[in-house]
């Protein structure tokens, strides 16, 4: 079904470009974009690799810090209530505004891209894990408490497993925004990366290449999302009570 939609979309696009005299530097026809993709394939591949690299590194750091921070914040009602508004506030800051500061501190290139990816994907993970742990049903905690379990044991045996659905749900969001963060940073402050490639192409009015870059971006974005979702489904089947399991929809 998604494939039919995509094919139809491309066909309509091609038709529009055929019927109306649209200049290539406004909206290139799909076949022109494909041609440009073929011409520039090595460059697209190389720059995509760079973007993927900064995205994944930034994302992994965000996972580590988001999980750890989420556990700390979620385990105490006091900290949770105190920090939550602060987190929301931080999250509301447009991350584009941070990039120039990062450039000032770290120069251009790989480092600001990684940091942007990290900052932007860190918050959804942190907030989700904290929420997951903070909202554990008291009944579940009581099962552990009744045995004389320590707070640490309660977090390990109930808090963390219970927050996993929240964690994985946030991973899908986080990986996508990490990617956006990387590209954003590249468009402002880098010579390599798919974002930099598109900016360079734009500067040379090579609009088909800009679009080729966009498509590469979309493909990578979908890829990362699918990976995150596959992992999610494998790991937390219990949260859906097996509804997504074999034999049903």
């Amino acid at each position: 079904m998604p494939w039919m939609v995509i094919t139809g979309f491309i066909l309509v696009w091609e038709l529009i470009c055929l019927i109306f005299p649209i200049k290539t530097f406004i909206l290139p026809a799909p076949h022109v974009i494909v041609q440009s993709m073929i011409t520039w394939w090595p460059q697209i591949l190389e720059n995509s690799g760079q973007t993927l690299f900064t995205t994944v590194v930034g994302f992994l750091i965000a996972v580590a810090f988001g999980l750890a921070g989420g556990v700390v914040i979620g385990s105490s009602t006091l900290i949770y209530n105190g920090f939550y508004p602060l987190l929301i506030g931080f999250n509301a800051i447009p991350k584009v505004a941070i990039v120039p500061i990062l450039v000032l501190w770290f120069g251009i290139g790989t480092v600001p891209a990684i940091i942007t990816a990290f900052i932007i994907s860190f918050f959804p993970i942190l907030v989700n894990v904290a929420t997951g742990i903070a909202t554990v049903e008291p009944e579940l905690k009581d099962v552990l408490r009744a045995l004389g379990a320590s707070n640490r044991q309660i977090i390990m045996k109930v808090g963390l497993p219970r927050s996993m659905p929240y964690f994985f749900a946030s991973l899908k969001v986080a990986i996508t925004v990490a990617f956006v963060g990387s590209i954003m940073s590249e468009t402002v402050a880098a010579n390599v990366g798919i974002g930099a490639l598109m900016m360079a192409a734009q500067g040379r009015f090579e609009v088909p290449l800009v679009f080729a870059g966009l498509i590469a971006t979309a493909v990578m974005g979908i890829m990362l999302y699918v990976i995150a979702e596959t992992i999610e489904r494998r790991v937390i089947g219990w949260a859906t009570r097996g509804i997504n399991g074999p034999g049903s929809v």
């Binding site: 009944e139 009581d142 408490r145 009744a146 045995l147 044991q153 045996k157 937390i236 219990w238 949260a239």
Partner: protein, 262 residues
């Protein structure tokens, strides 16, 4: 000497305006005794369980278990909750083995003696009729099966005090009577101290050495009755005229406790 002792316990939920669930509740349970607690619905039976296990500290008064004042939950207690809470990400076997990961000396031995403990868990599961459901998740079990699992979990670490809050509430009569036998055997074999909350008066008379009757909320103890029947009791016991008479008497005690409140 009393193993469990409550002296004039008051327990109020929430602030000063909160629900007063227990008022002047006093009881004392001997080591190895099997006590049943009965009373009108909402009178504070589950609350009593929480106070004894240290899950909810009383507002006034002191609870002692095994000679020590209860300051918080301790590992020598095994508890089966009224709504048999299982961790949904663990299969039945792992849910039942949960206490072993917390309570010493089992927690430090668990890794090295895993297979012994698994065998023990399976044996318990066999006793309550759960064999074959080890790998099932809680949501794949019926309510009655979850209660059986909950009973196994309460017993797995050989607690000295067993707290059972309506453990057979969701079971049909036949299974229930079958599990009375199982519980009686387990108790006779290990002699833990048992406090059983139940709405089923036949269950109380069948299982308990002594039955405590609570008043309507705020709950306190208004009567007690020593059950004379020798053990092991069988289903035949439940047809004895004395047995029936005791259940009738308990029924009227609870009935009047309810009316006093109204």
């Amino acid at each position: 000497m009393a193993f469990v002792e409550l002296k004039d316990i008051w327990l109020r939920y929430g602030g000063a305006e909160g629900t007063l669930a227990l008022k002047n509740a006093s009881m004392s349970v001997r080591d190895g005794e099997f006590v049943a607690v009965v009373g009108p619905s909402g009178c504070g039976k589950s609350t009593l369980m929480k106070a004894v296990t240290g899950l909810w500290p009383p507002t006034r008064g002191e609870v002692t278990v095994a000679g020590k004042a209860v300051k918080g939950p301790v590992g020598i207690v095994g508890m089966a909750f009224q709504n048999s809470v299982q961790l949904p990400w663990r299969n039945t076997l792992d849910n039942i083995m949960l206490p072993l990961e917390i309570v010493e000396p089992h927690a430090s031995r668990l890794h090295a003696h895993k297979s012994d403990y698994v065998a023990k868990a399976r044996e318990l599961m066999g006793l309550v009729g759960l064999t074959g459901f080890e790998k099932r998740y809680p949501w794949q079990l019926s309510g009655g099966m979850q209660q059986r699992a909950s009973l196994c979990r309460a017993l797995i670490h050989d607690p000295k005090l067993l707290m059972l809050d309506e453990p057979f509430g969701a079971l049909d009569m036949f299974t229930r009577e079958e599990l009375w036998g199982v519980l009686q055997d387990l108790w006779m074999a290990r002699k833990p101290t048992v406090i059983l909350v139940t709405h089923d008066l036949r269950e109380a008379v069948f299982l308990a050495d002594r039955i405590l009757v609570m008043s309507a909320r705020p709950g306190r103890f208004v009567a007690e009755y020593n059950v004379p029947f020798p053990r092991p009791r069988t289903l035949e016991t439940t047809y004895l005229p004395d047995f029936i008479e005791i259940t009738h008497m308990l029924r009227s005690l609870i009935q009047s406790a309810r009316q006093d409140a109204a």
